[in-house]
Symmetry: C2
Subunit: 80 residues, 2 copies
């Protein structure tokens, strides 16, 4: 129940996290690890989105565009 409530607060699903780990070369991934990855990626995603909103406001737009996400990503996590 507690876990369900915790998961409901996340926008990102757990199954893509398992696939993503396999893509990275993982053999096995615990359920807790997949949930932790969803949690941190969501946190990073929200930070990027917040920066992107700032850039869109600066450009006098009300819609976030791909270029806002690009610049925001560099600001939040550096050059990928």
């Amino acid at each position: 129940m507690a876990v369900e409530k915790y998961m409901n607060q996340l926008e990102m699903a757990v199954s893509p996290m398992h696939r993503l780990c396999k893509k990275a070369g993982a053999d096995r991934v615990s359920e807790a690890a997949a949930k932790e990855l969803a949690r941190v990626l969501e946190e990073i995603g929200v930070r990027i989105a917040r920066e992107a909103i700032d850039y869109s406001i600066h450009a006098r737009r009300t819609t976030i565009k791909a270029k806002d996400i690009e610049i925001a990503t560099i600001k939040v996590v550096g050059k990928l």
Copy 2:
């Protein structure tokens, strides 16, 4: 067609990205922006997973655990 092919290569869906942007306070988000966010988060996720695999190997485990993800995240993007 080209876009579909591009999207099929991603493990992460686009709709959670829209929700994530709304959560961050966005008014409107272009489809291209949501796709770009999915792309960068997947890239960051794979990097974190790769580091987590290294940590699990170092701990002589074959399963990635939540603590591997925690340490890997700090290494890849710094303290959240």
